[in-house]
């Protein structure tokens, strides 16, 4: 390695560390604040006593258990729905030649370009007509046909050699059998990648659940937390941090465990 190269590498490395530092700072602060009393949290005295009171306080002030359950139900409603619908749609796009296939796929791509926030009012109207306002299924329904997932799976399916399908067909596999026994197992990395993104996105989604939910029975963690931290009740940073940590803990732990798969699956699922 030449001298110049070495300098360049170290500059890049330092830059990366600085950026990473900035990114992790809020999380580190939340950790700090959550384990200290309110007044200590602001002073950054390294020797100030640690405490778990904030967690106890937050837990008793709001029904976090219920919020967690709601979030869990929401995510476990959306993800299987997305996977099911997108798998069938992507399979149709890849395997069947039908009139309007290109137009239909263009529409899917268009959906990819529209931010869901634009449709909030329209979605609310639709769901209220279906009497699904303030239900978990109503909260999940607008996301159930994910254009992104259809697109990713279509790309993955397209890269599967036709000969595998021919071989399965010759062995007597039905059309759905081929999907289930050949396409789905071979697209596993894409399924994992999308699942991770989908779960983290919907775990963290705030605006839409805020609008569609009115009661404790449906509110997910993010909304519960938002109401908990409403400015009019005065912001208790320590308790808020403790509540935030409780909300993101499952995701955080999952990320640390699946870190490798998370990054890898995206490298493999690269857009083709």
């Amino acid at each position: 390695m030449t001298y110049r190269n070495r300098i360049q590498t170290s500059v890049e490395l330092i830059g990366a560390y600085i950026l990473a530092g900035f990114w992790i700072l809020p999380l580190l602060y939340a950790f700090w604040a959550a384990f200290h009393s309110s007044s200590d949290a602001m002073h950054f005295d390294i020797f100030s006593p640690l405490t778990l009171d904030n967690f106890r306080e937050a837990w008793s002030q709001a029904p976090f258990a219920r919020f967690s359950l709601n979030t869990f139900l929401l995510v476990s409603f959306i993800l299987p729905g997305q996977l099911l619908i997108s798998t069938l749609a992507a399979y149709a796009f890849v395997r069947f030649k039908f009139t309007g296939a290109n137009v239909a796929f263009a529409l899917v791509l268009v959906q990819l370009m529209i931010t869901p926030e634009i449709l909030i009012v329209q979605n609310y109207v639709t769901l209220s007509k279906l009497s699904l306002v303030d239900t978990i299924s109503g909260m999940g329904l607008p996301y159930i046909a994910s254009a992104f997932c259809i697109f990713l799976l279509r790309q993955a399916f397209k890269s599967i050699p036709k000969e595998l399908e021919d071989a399965a067909e010759l062995e007597g596999c039905s059309t759905m059998g081929i999907l289930w026994k050949v396409y789905v197992p071979l697209a596993t990395p894409t399924y994992i990648a999308f699942s991770l993104v989908s779960v983290s996105h919907h775990w963290n989604n705030f605006l839409w659940p805020l609008i569609i939910s009115n009661s404790v029975e449906t509110r997910p963690l993010t909304v519960g937390l938002g109401i908990f931290a409403a400015p009019e009740s005065g912001v208790e940073w320590s308790i808020l941090s403790a509540a935030t940590l409780m909300s993101v803990a499952p995701l955080l732990i999952a990320f640390l465990i699946f870190q490798k798969q998370f990054v890898q699956s995206f490298m493999q699922a690269g857009i083709k």
Binding site: P161, E163, L164, D166, A167, A168, E169, L170, E171, G172, C173, G177, K181, V182, P185, L186, T188
Partner: protein, 344 residues
């Protein structure tokens, strides 16, 4: 009895005719090779036989019944693909028994069949491996085993050896041929490699641009090609075909000269191994010498036309030497202006 009977088979894609009015029969328990350059329609024919490709016109009979409109899995054929088409997420055993599971064969019978097929192709030790951890030859064997367990008497093979190196290819050639004989399979084998065709086939169907050029046993096609195309496609180096206008006929032997008198003759052909260096005959200059050990191939040029001469010995001949070549009348082939063979 013929296992497969194809009548007036055609396949077009829009305006392009990939296969044009092809008819042939494949005898039972025989090894038939569909041979031809790329784009000759050989793979398309095989796919139509398997049912993976639609037929535009014509009929296909397999085992005595018309299967033209019958779906692939009910035709009683198995297939070995060029890329082997092994399922990468399944291990060797699962790959072999894939079709048995689809057809809901009971577990006990499945085990027995897989074990038997694995033994036949020598895979018993590797049943737990994934295809990614197998060599090319082993993958090939898995594909063969999968075809064996299906218990179909007709096996279609689409250039199964093209991804192997030359030594392994020679081994697998013998193995496939041996397997076909032992199990009494009817094999239809697609290849563009004339060496494979010559060494394995009972019957070669030579194709060009979607049409059959010649059908026959390897030696039949080699010894009496019906056209310039057959003559040059089979044999390495190919048959020398020279236009009569390009050669100085005055130097030729009188018997040969008199054979060339007919006005319908346009080209003459002589196989490289039938040419001899001699004192009298067609003058030629040595352009290159390829020494292969068992034989030596000389590239010669006569009035700026190149041709080959093959010698089993190593004569003392140098580059640039000027010599004469001759041949026997019986070894000469005559072709008309449409490149068809003229029978003398």
């Amino acid at each position: 009895m013929s296992a497969i009977e194809v009548k007036n088979l055609s396949r077009s894609y829009g305006d392009i005719d990939a296969v044009k009015d092809v008819s042939f029969t494949v005898p039972e328990k025989s090894f038939t090779v569909l041979l031809g350059p790329s784009g000759c329609g050989k793979s398309t024919i095989l796919k139509m036989l398997s049912g993976l490709e639609q037929v535009s016109h014509g009929t296909i009979n397999i085992g005595g019944s018309d299967v033209t409109e019958i779906e692939a899995s009910k035709r009683g054929v198995s297939m070995v693909f060029q890329s082997y088409a092994l399922f990468p997420h399944l291990n060797v055993k699962e790959n072999i028994q894939f079709g048995l599971k689809v057809r809901k064969v009971p577990a006990e019978e499945r085990e027995k069949k897989v074990a038997e097929a694995a033994r036949v192709v020598g895979l018993t030790e590797l049943l737990d491996r994934k295809p990614a951890n197998l060599s090319g030859g082993q993958r090939q064997r898995v594909a063969l085993a999968r075809s064996i367990v299906s218990d179909q008497t007709v096996c279609l093979m689409d250039e199964p050896l093209s991804n192997l190196d030359s030594k392994l290819r020679a081994e697998m050639r013998d193995e496939i041929r041996d397997l076909q004989k032992r199990l009494g399979l009817t094999v239809v084998y697609v290849t563009h490699d004339q060496v494979e065709a010559m060494s394995m086939a009972d019957q070669i169907i030579l194709l060009r641009l979607g049409e059959i050029v010649q059908v026959g046993a390897p030696e039949e096609i080699y010894n009496s090609p019906n056209s310039v195309f057959s003559a040059q496609f089979i044999g390495l180096p190919p048959m020398n075909v020279l236009n009569l206008n390009d050669i100085d006929t005055s130097t030729l032997d009188s018997k040969i000269k008199s054979a060339l008198e007919s006005s319908s003759i346009k080209n003459i052909g002589v196989r490289p191994e039938h040419l001899m260096f001699s004192k009298k005959g067609l003058p030629a200059t040595v352009k290159s010498i390829d020494y292969f050990g068992g034989e030596t191939v000389f590239k010669l040029t006569h009035q700026e036309k190149d041709f080959f001469l093959r010698e089993p010995r190593q004569p003392k001949i140098q580059l640039g030497d000027e010599l004469c070549v001759s041949w026997n009348l019986d070894d000469m082939y005559l072709f008309d202006k449409n490149d068809q063979r003229l029978k003398s």
